[in-house]
C-alpha cells in the first residue's frame, strides 16, 4: 500500500511543479464558479427553484460535479494503449508494481490536486463573492459520497485500463474508445435525458455504475439525494469495481504475453 501512496504523492507533486500552471488552474476553478453564478443567476431570475434545485444547491452541485469531471480517468485508456503500441509499457513491467494499481494511484494523486483547488475555489467564492454553497448537514451522507467517489474512480480507472490493454491484442483501440464514449454518454443521460427512457430501461440503468460516479456523489454532498439511494448506488458501484478489477487482472495476464516490446 505504501508504494502506491508514494506513486500518488509523486503524481500530485508533478501537478504542482509550475507556478504559472497552478495559478491558472486556481483562477480557472474560481472563474468556473463565477461563470456558474452568473449563468444560473440569470436562469433562476427571482425563481425559488429550477427542476427542484435551489440556487445554492445548483451552484454547489456544479462545483462538485465539475471537480469530479476533472478527474481524468479517460486518459488512462489512451496512455495505456499508446504505451503498448510504442513499447514504453515495459516501464511498468520491470518495476515491482501492478500496472492497474499504478494507474489507480497516479489518478488519485492527480485528483488530489483538483480536489484541493475545488475546495479552495468553494471557500474563496463563499468568502470573497458571498456565493453561498449548500452542503448536506448529515456527515454520513458526506462520508458515503466520499467512499462513492473513491469507488467510482476505481471503477472508471479499471474500465479505461481494460480498454487500454486491449491494445495488446488489437493494437489500435480507437473503436473501443469511441464505443465506450457512446456507452457512457447514453448511460449518464448526456445523449438522451434518462427521464425520457421507458421505465424498464431506467430500471436497468439503475444497476449500471456510471450514474454513481459523478451524479450521485454530487447529489449526496449537496443534500439532494437520500442516504438510502446512496447506499444502493455504492453497493452497485463496489460490485462493478470488483468485477472490473478481476476482469482487468485476468485480461492483463492473458494478453500481456502477446506484448512484443517494439523492436528487435
Amino acid at each position: 500500500m505504501r508504494k502506491y501512496m508514494e506513486v500518488a504523492k509523486i503524481f500530485f507533486k508533478t501537478q504542482i511543479v509550475y507556478r504559472f500552471d497552478v495559478s491558472l488552474t486556481a483562477l480557472s476553478v474560481i472563474w468556473r464558479v463565477m461563470f456558474a453564478y452568473i449563468m444560473w443567476g440569470a436562469i433562476f431570475d427571482g425563481r425559488e427553484t429550477v427542476g427542484g434545485f435551489t440556487f445554492q444547491a445548483m451552484l454547489s452541485y456544479y462545483v462538485i460535479s465539475s471537480f469530479l469531471a476533472a478527474i481524468d480517468t479517460a486518459g488512462v485508456s489512451g496512455e495505456v494503449s499508446a504505451r503498448i503500441r510504442g513499447g514504453t509499457f515495459a516501464k511498468y513491467m520491470v518495476i515491482p508494481t501492478h500496472p492497474l494499481k499504478h494507474f489507480l494511484a497516479q489518478t488519485f494523486g492527480a485528483a488530489g490536486y483538483y480536489a484541493i483547488f475545488s475546495i479552495i475555489a468553494a471557500i474563496a467564492c463563499a468568502l470573497l463573492f458571498r456565493v453561498d454553497m449548500m452542503f448536506s448537514e448529515n456527515p454520513a451522507q458526506i462520508a458515503l459520497a466520499g467512499v462513492m467517489i473513491i469507488a467510482g474512480t476505481t471503477f472508471m480507472v479499471s474500465y479505461h485500463f481494460f480498454i487500454g490493454i486491449l491494445a495488446f491484442k488489437f493494437q489500435d483501440v480507437g473503436f473501443f474508445l469511441h464505443l465506450q464514449g457512446s456507452v457512457i454518454e447514453f448511460a449518464t443521460g448526456a445523449a438522451v435525458p434518462l427521464a425520457l427512457l421507458p421505465v424498464n430501461a431506467r430500471a436497468v440503468l439503475r444497476f449500471l455504475p456510471f450514474t454513481y460516479v459523478t451524479y450521485m456523489p454530487a447529489m449526496l454532498i449537496t443534500g439532494q439525494a437520500e442516504a438510502s439511494e446512496g447506499v444502493f448506488g455504492l453497493s452497485a458501484l463496489c460490485c462493478w469495481a470488483a468485477v472490473m478489477a478481476v476482469i482487468c487482472c485476468f485480461t492483463y495476464n492473458r494478453l500481456r504475453v502477446r506484448f512484443d516490446g517494439v523492436g528487435i
Partner: protein, 333 residues
C-alpha cells in the same frame, strides 16, 4: 546454480507485411499477409554471479529481444529460461525486486521532479529499509559525484548527468543483476570514460552481475572480460573479450613522420592508407609490425613514429561479418 540459464531459447515475431501504396493498403484489409521473423534462435546462455558480460551485435541482431526475454518484458516462443531462479515472464514481484534495467534511451526518472523525488519513490516501490536507502544514496552520490544535482529538476540535467542518476535509481535496491542497454549512448568521450569507471566499481564493490548491451566496443572491451556476439538471432561467439579481439584485431597501423623528404615505399603486403614525401600511414599484419618498425627506424630519419591497434570499428565489422566464430561456450563459459 547459474544466475541466468537459457537453453534453445527462441523468439519468433509474426510481422504484418503490406505492399506499398494505397492499393497495397486496401488489399491488406482483405488479404493480410504475415511473415514469421525469428529474432532469437536456439540461444544457450549461462551466466554466473558477479560476471560482467558484454552482449554485442549489429542492429536487429536480436540483442534487445534477448534482454527483453531475460527481464520478462516479452515471453519466449520456445525453449528454457531461468533468471535468478524465476521464469521471467511470470513477472513475480520477488523477481522484479532482484534486478534492475537501465536503458540509455528510456528513462525511469520523472522529468518534472528532482532525482530525490524518484529515489524516494523507488525506496517505497522496492521496500528499501530507510538505513539501506540512506547509505546507498550517500555511497552512490559520492561515487558518481552528483551531490549538487539531487535537488534540481531532471529535465534541466545534461544527458551524462541524467544517466548517472538513472544508474543510481536502478542501484538503490542493491540488485543482484543489472541489465544495461546502451548506457553510454550519446555521451561525450570523457563522460563515457567516467561511466565505465563507475560500472567497474559497482561490479567489483557490490559483486553485481552486469549484462551490458552496447554499440560502443570500447565499453565492452574495457569492462567485460566475457562477451557474447549475436547476429541474426544466433550466438556466434561466447568467450573472452580479449581472445575475440586477438582473433580479429590481426593488424596494426603504423604512422611515420619523416625528418626529411623520402621516397619511402611501404613494405610488401601492407595496405597503404596515406603516403607523401614526409609522411606514411599503412596497415600490416600484427606479427610483422615490430620488425618493420625497427627496420624503418634504422633506415630513415624519423621525426615521429606510432604503432596502433587496428581501428576498433573495422575489427567489429569483421566480427559481425563472420558467421561461424570458434565458439568457446563449452570451454570458456
Amino acid at each position: 546454480m547459474s544466475l541466468i540459464h537459457t537453453k534453445d531459447l527462441t523468439k519468433t515475431f509474426r510481422i504484418f507485411e503490406k505492399e506499398p501504396g494505397l492499393t497495397g493498403s486496401v488489399k491488406s484489409l482483405f488479404n493480410r499477409k504475415f511473415i514469421d521473423k525469428t529474432a532469437v534462435a536456439n540461444f544457450d546462455l549461462c551466466v554466473e554471479q558477479g560476471e560482467f558480460i558484454g552482449l554485442i551485435g549489429p542492429n536487429g541482431s536480436g540483442k534487445t529481444t534477448l534482454v527483453k526475454m531475460l527481464t520478462g518484458i516479452i515471453a519466449p516462443s520456445s525453449g528454457e529460461i531461468s533468471v535468478l531462479g524465476f521464469y521471467p515472464n511470470k513477472l513475480e514481484t520477488l523477481f522484479k525486486k532482484q534486478y534492475a534495467v537501465v536503458m540509455g534511451q528510456k528513462s525511469q526518472l520523472f522529468f518534472e521532479l528532482t532525482p530525490m523525488d524518484t529515489f524516494r519513490l523507488f525506496k517505497e516501490l522496492y521496500g528499501i529499509p530507510e538505513k539501506t536507502y540512506k547509505r546507498n544514496v550517500d555511497d552512490f552520490v559520492e561515487l558518481f559525484g552528483v551531490s549538487e544535482l539531487l535537488n534540481v529538476q531532471v529535465r534541466t540535467l545534461s544527458l551524462g548527468e541524467r544517466m548517472k542518476l538513472e544508474l543510481i535509481a536502478a542501484l538503490l535496491h542493491n540488485p543482484g543483476l543489472l541489465f544495461l542497454d546502451e548506457p553510454t549512448i550519446g555521451l561525450d568521450a570523457a563522460t563515457q570514460r567516467n561511466m565505465r569507471g563507475f560500472l567497474r566499481e559497482v561490479n567489483s564493490r557490490k559483486s553485481t552481475t552486469i549484462i551490458l548491451t552496447s554499440h560502443y566496443m570500447e565499453d565492452v572491451r574495457t569492462l567485460c572480460p566475457r562477451c557474447v556476439v549475436i547476429n541474426g538471432g544466433k550466438k556466434i561467439y561466447d568467450g573472452g573479450t580479449d581472445s575475440l579481439f586477438d582473433m580479429y584485431q590481426s593488424r596494426k597501423k603504423i604512422t611515420i613522420t619523416f625528418g626529411r623528404e623520402t621516397d619511402f615505399i611501404p613494405p610488401e603486403g601492407a595496405e597503404t592508407l596515406e603516403r607523401s614525401p614526409y609522411r606514411a600511414v599503412f596497415i600490416l599484419p600484427k606479427d610483422q609490425a615490430g620488425k618493420i618498425a625497427a627496420q624503418i627506424t634504422r633506415d630513415y630519419d624519423i621525426a615521429d613514429i606510432s604503432i596502433e591497434e587496428e581501428e576498433i570499428g573495422k575489427t567489429v565489422e569483421k566480427i559481425y561479418a563472420a558467421k561461424g566464430l570458434n565458439n568457446e561456450t563449452e570451454a570458456g563459459a
